[in-house]
């Protein structure tokens, strides 16, 4: 008879550990599809770009377009607004990043880093606090947008200036087409690179 009190691992120990390990890894691999199915589906991701004709937009006018399920503000700014946005010193901004998807993440929040053509300011229209749609056309204390939900003020470059919102309104990827008559929202990275986006 063999001695069963030995401390040596037995074949049974091995099977225990192997079966347990297979169950744990198999379980994790099974759970993942059930979690990942809730992320945006392929067709949702593919719906990521639209074109909008902006040739009829007059100076000082603003339109809101629906893009990826939410609003995007397109504002043709006046000379005065551009000058005002550019005059702001960056250390007065609560959020000092450009939040511009066309530029590297660390680009500073200067007005030049927020636009491709200074005349057109194009930003996503959900307040960075809890997602309400701010009121535009120069509203608020900083001549830009005002969010009535909890009182966030954005300036003429749609940067947060006061209120609970933590970040500037983000700039979606976009390029101009047809000599600036059309804006394409949701541009690819190649298009963005070719369009002349660069950190100022």
């Amino acid at each position: 008879m063999t001695d069963h009190t030995t401390e040596e691992p037995t074949r049974r120990d091995f099977i225990y550990i192997a079966a347990g390990g297979a169950a744990a890894i198999g379980g994790a691999l099974t759970i993942w599809p059930f979690i990942h199915q809730m992320n945006p589906a392929a067709d949702t991701l593919a719906l990521g770009s639209i074109r909008k004709d902006i040739s009829s937009l007059g100076v000082g006018q603003e339109i809101t377009v629906m893009f990826r399920g939410g609003p995007v503000f397109i504002r043709r700014r006046t000379e005065a607004e551009i000058a005002e946005a550019r005059a702001v010193e960056l250390d007065r901004l609560p959020d000092d990043l450009a939040r511009n998807e066309n530029l590297p993440d660390n680009a500073s929040a200067s007005d030049a880093n927020r636009v491709l053509n200074p005349e057109y300011l194009i930003v996503k229209g959900n307040c960075t606090h809890l997602g309400c749609v701010p009121v535009g056309n120069g509203a608020g204390d900083y001549d830009g947008w005002f969010c009535p939900c909890h009182g966030s003020h954005y300036d003429a470059s749609a940067r947060i200036r006061r209120g609970p919102a933590p970040e500037n309104l983000p700039v979606p990827t976009y390029i101009f087409e047809n000599d600036g008559a059309v804006v394409k929202l949701g541009a690819t990275s190649d298009e963005v690179a070719a369009a002349g986006w660069s950190v100022a």
């Binding site: 809730m38 949702t44 990826r68 399920g69 809890l130 997602g131």
Partner: protein, 431 residues
């Protein structure tokens, strides 16, 4: 369950079934001959009322689901169709929408009852915790249900609440898109909310069974907080409490019917009669009334706390307000259960109830509006919410732990029987 079974199958078929699946025995021992403290008052009827409302929500919900279309282009119209064209749809939709409110009325009274009589203390901690889980699931079900009619408040309520998750550092934005299944609240969101809204009530039903199981091991607490000691302390559940619960259920259903028939929309919000529009936010977003205290706590945190931003701080406070209920059994150090015999805790509890109602009031108001205004001077609502939030947490984290050591409880009756029938059981008249 925990007491000796007294069921005796009489007919042949009962005997046959009892030796195979003793389900009749389970029902008999749980709801007919279950020994129940003889002094339960009407605050103890809300458990039965809650069970009735779970059934009402499931039955009316299954019917609504036969006519409801979970698609952003059709959801709003399909609910309008239920209310106008589907046979008795106006009745069943009204039952479901108002049923949710009455469900919460009952659960809040049920929970305050537990807080007052110390029902969360040993040996009922697990019972209490299962209750808090049920409450969390009810909130999830109601939140997702309110999104389904796809009105303006549905859409913007969902947007604001899911955006809260975005406050979490690093993972927040990923989780938010994962919840949405899109880049904003949209069709994918509506579909999954419908699926989960259908599922959660059945999870609740399963937990209710565990809740009653955990109740029937130690048995009911009672208004004296003194545990059952002998047979004289209890009465069989049937007919004493089937009748008492039944009476309370009928009265509660009458009030419910008053709302269903005469005030069907008074608890709803007018903005939800406007179809969802992702481009226009309503002037003033408010959740359903039963979430208002938590909404006030969320908005009370307007300042950064070290590395925690105000936005994240608000979210943590809101979830913490419910999380603290899980550890309550270990926070309250007093060995005395019922606040009847706790002279200081009783008043602190009363102020706690007022604080909760006050938070509800703050949640409905614009934070910058003035409260207690006199001649243009007053306190902004946000300051009132901060004071009440501080009291809410202090009640659990400071008052109850400290009172356990410093409060001198009043003398308690020696038994339930003595408290009902006079000082000594011997003096009781024969029944």
């Amino acid at each position: 369950m925990s007491h000796q079974s007294t069921y005796e199958p009489k007919t042949g078929i009962e005997k046959w079934l009892d030796s195979r699946l003793p389900i009749v025995r389970l029902g008999y021992d749980s709801f007919v001959d279950f020994p129940t403290p003889r002094n339960l008052n009407y605050w103890y009827t809300f458990g039965g009322i809650l069970a009735v409302f779970l059934v009402i929500q499931i039955l009316s919900g299954v019917v609504l689901a036969m006519h409801y279309v979970p698609h952003v282009d059709h959801a709003f119209d399909s609910v309008e169709r239920i209310r106008r064209d589907v046979n008795y749809g106006w009745l069943i939709q009204s039952m479901h929408a108002n049923g949710a409110s009455f469900f919460f009325v009952a659960v809040y009274l049920h929970m305050f009852r537990g807080l007052y009589y110390g029902s969360y203390k040993a040996p009922r901690e697990v019972l209490w915790i299962i209750g808090v889980v049920i409450y969390l699931l009810m909130m999830a079900a109601a939140f997702m249900g309110y999104v389904l009619p796809w009105g303006q408040m549905s859409y913007w309520g969902a947007t604001v609440i899911t955006n809260l998750v975005g406050a979490l550092p690093v993972v927040g934005e990923g989780i938010r898109e994962w919840l949405w299944g899109d880049f904003a609240v949209g069709n994918a969101t509506l579909n999954r909310f419908f699926s989960l809204h259908y599922l959660i009530p059945f999870l609740i039903a399963g937990l209710v069974i565990l809740h009653i199981w955990a109740l029937h091991v130690p048995g009911n607490n009672n208004p004296t907080g003194v545990e059952v000691k002998g047979k004289g302390d209890t009465l069989p559940f049937h007919p004493y409490y089937t009748v008492k619960d039944g009476f309370a259920i009928v009265v509660f259903l009458m009030i419910f019917a008053g709302f269903v028939f005469y005030l069907p929309s008074v608890l709803g919000h007018a903005d939800n009669s406007i179809e969802a529009n992702p481009l226009v936010t309503p002037a003033h977003i408010v959740p359903e009334w039963y979430f208002l205290p938590f909404y006030a706590i969320l908005r009370a945190v307007t300042f950064d706390i070290g590395p925690i931003s105000a936005k994240l701080g608000g979210v943590l406070a809101m979830f913490g307000a419910i999380g603290v209920l899980f550890v309550l059994p270990w926070l309250d150090r007093s060995p005395v259960k019922s606040m009847r015999y706790r002279p200081i805790a009783k008043w602190c509890f009363l102020i706690f109830v007022i604080a909760c109602l006050g938070l509800g009031w703050c949640g409905a108001e614009n934070p910058d509006n003035l409260v207690f205004e006199f001649g243009g001077i007053g306190m902004p609502f946000v300051v009132l919410s901060q004071i009440l939030t501080a009291y809410y947490f202090a009640y659990f984290l400071v008052i109850l732990p400290v009172l356990g050591f410093v409060e001198k409880p009043k003398e308690r009756p020696e038994s339930i029987e003595a408290s009902v029938l006079g000082s000594s059981p011997a003096a009781a008249p024969a029944e």
